[in-house]
Amino acid sequence: MKGLQQLRIVGGAVHDPTNGIDGEVRDVCIENGRVVAALPDGAPTLDAGGMIVMAGGVDIHSHLASSSCNHARRLLPEEHAAEPAPAPLLEDGAPARSGTGGTVPSTFTTGYRYAGLGYTTVFDAAVAPIMARHSHAELEDTPCVDGGFFALMGNDEYLLRLIASGERGRSRDYAAWLLGATGAYAIKIVNPGGIEAWKSGQRNLNSLDETLTTHGVTPRAILETLADAANQLGLPHPVHIHCNNLGMPGNVAVTLASMRALAGRRAHFTHAQFHAYGGPGWSSGAVPLMEYVNSHPELSIDVGQVMFGPAATITADGPVEYLLHKSSGRKWVNIDIELETGCGIVPILYRDKAAVSALQWAIGLELFLLSADPWRVVLSTDHPNGGSFLSYPALIQLLMDRTVRGERLKQINPKLLAGSALADGLTREYTLNEIAIITRAGPARLLGLQQKGHLGPGADADVTVYSRDPDIARMFATPRYVIKAGTLVVEEGQLRRAPAGRRLHVRPGYDDALLPGLQKHFQAYSTVAFDNYPVRGIRDEPIPL
């Protein structure tokens, strides 16, 4: 099975919602790393009789390859020591790598584990531009998955200056330059203006129209500017937004205000669960949030589900991590990153007997279960913030099996669940096709990855084959076969090969008139020379725009 040029996957029930295929038994043909319509008779076959065939999973929002992740790894030696990960035995004698697990595993182990779950494309959702070189290096050491990252821009000094002077067009040019210079895939906003507020002593911004005093700019202006930039540049993925007030009671108000501020514009709101709290005390804000999302087709979200157990919060949102540190007493990292953003890390334990954790768990499920359009509501745990990506199978089971969900609900602290739609009884069960949408077809479409998330001719040959199992969690945790760009990576449930993945990035054009002012800014305030700033020599060509 080594070095397959051709492969016919025979007899599986195919779930390929992009192409309107819902469990039909049919062959999937692969040639030279791509899905093709047909193969000649006699092509090698893989028997998937009785099994379920989907495209490889696509993770739209994870934290796996960044300087912040690495600071989190360093902070948690006790977790690594408890979970050694010897090198897998690969079939072709390739030097497999050992590593360690925990909530933030080492890079090779991360790649192997994603592949082991049937995920073949992953994005790191938050990279400080000045640290981009580091992310590319970590991705080089994260095999089996195609990957990229989003560049943090919502608190960038130069951008804030441009917005303050009303230079929206120049802001777009700057965003384009930053994406190209860092080899990023999309524009990310974290707590617009709030990180600069944290760094400059204002501490935070709590509403969409509170002014960042250092710059005279509001979160609203930042959101509008970068949403427009992404759309006008024709980026494959719209602006990816982590709203203000993450984790605060009552924050659904600012989340809804942010969505309204961008009405009519394409935008993705990330880890919505952390932004869907009613107020003034703790309660669920899932219903109004999903009413808005359901009726606005230009918006999408990923959920950021909380799963009970240990997690590590890693975010550019410095002020929220400080508060978490103060309230939990756990160890805390804060790194202010020059002219661009911040970084905060606090380990956390989500306990089912803790009222707030239980509420968070319930809200995440409500977002999924109240969704009218699975194409715009993506599965994520904001790994490792709400839980590890390894908990995706257990989450899928909660969505597909209301009995399991109901039993779990009985075990959790009910104190804050009054008025929760979940507690009132949501009977919906996701179908396999809906799972295929929220774990691959949907995120691929939202990311603008036309060759991912489906199995039509021309698609990348990233395929996952599951053995049917009445235990849904076990079924999704242990795929029988995983194929990455035509290479059989997981065979009979075992990792057998670990090919390098592709870098997914964009390089939009911009008006050169941007450069003199930007160079002047670098000269005045940056500690890295303008010519040394861009990352060069990225292995793969940018995605054409």
Binding site: C69, R74, S98, G102, D141, E157, N334, I335, Y525, V528
Partner: protein
Amino acid sequence: MTDDRVEQVTCLGCGCGCDDIAVTVREGRIVDTSPPCPLGRAWFGDGSVPWQVLRGGQPVAVEEALTEAAEMLVRSRGRVLVYVGVDLSSQAQRSAIALADLLHATVDTATSETAAAGLLAGQRRGRATATLGEIRNRADVLLFWGVDPVLRYPRFHSRYAPEPPGVGIPEGRAGRFVIAVNIGADRAPPGADATITLEASEEIGALSLMRAALRDSRPAELPPPFKQAADLLPRLTGARYAVLVHDAEPTAEPRNPLRVEGLIALAQALNGPTRAALCSLRAGGNRPGAESVLTWQTGYPMAVDYSRGYPRYEPGLRGLNRLETGGFSAALVVGSPDFSAGTTSALARIDTIAIGPRATQASFNPRLAIDTGVAGIHDGGTGYRMDEVPLSLRPPLRGQRSTVEALGGLVKGIRLLGQPA
């Protein structure tokens, strides 16, 4: 005779990571570096390094040396020490650690004997820090705790703080309040706006009292040095952005390991009333690079033992210190570390391979030695600044063999021998 001038070269002479160096090259030799900095000039020198491959002191073809090195290391699998030096790009460090994994080796780096106390304290507590540009652009109060950067980090003052103007500090030095704390023989900068002097024995108590003052629980009566220390608190809490600067590298003066823990705790606690960061000065070469690569590949920043087939963290059992007792039968030294006499003589008793800049001049007379280029002088790639910002290296000279190439050849040789059982 025309000179070549290479601009914006990154210097790894100390941890400042200045990337604005103009290097003048004449006939393959570096003849000038600007701006002039004593550490930078010492780092670059004239750029000449040996380009030899030696076996038992005699020249040998590189392919032959790599084949023999592979055989030697595979024979000793599970009993190999891999030392990863600092004059290497992160790409070379990455290859060296890949080899260690393949060989079930024990990894040691410069960190174990230098900045380990700070890393361990950071693993217990976390830390509040900032990149150097953030310090330059924001710090309005700077406290130098037992260090004057001018001695070992010559351009820290002019590039980062307190001298240059920044976004929030348009006046430069005049816009910053500088506090010097002398501790025993560890002197802080002269010319500070406030200076206090502590005996080494008073240091930890003073740090504790500063934290007590922050919690409004300082005792009413204090002896003079402690009172002075506690009295610094309003300056720090009154800052918009306070930065504590200390030297994470050892000095001749013995140091209480609780210093760094106390500073971490103080910097974190100051983030209640204001914003604050701890700046840890790091020495030259790509030290944070080795820590960073080790962390992403293993989860641990130093002292990793792969002998059981997966990374184990042994910060209390330094590889080099176990040469006598650790059962090692071979050592692969990557880079050109300056080993102690004890280490040198212990290495003489086992198979040794040196790959790196000036490998053939290593004090321990390696059985096999392959010279390669110095990171940032002949080798490109990435080097990490003391604040862990990854910098692009722009080598002004062309080398004959990069460390990554040599290590790649070794990996290939090991693979040709097949995966040992």
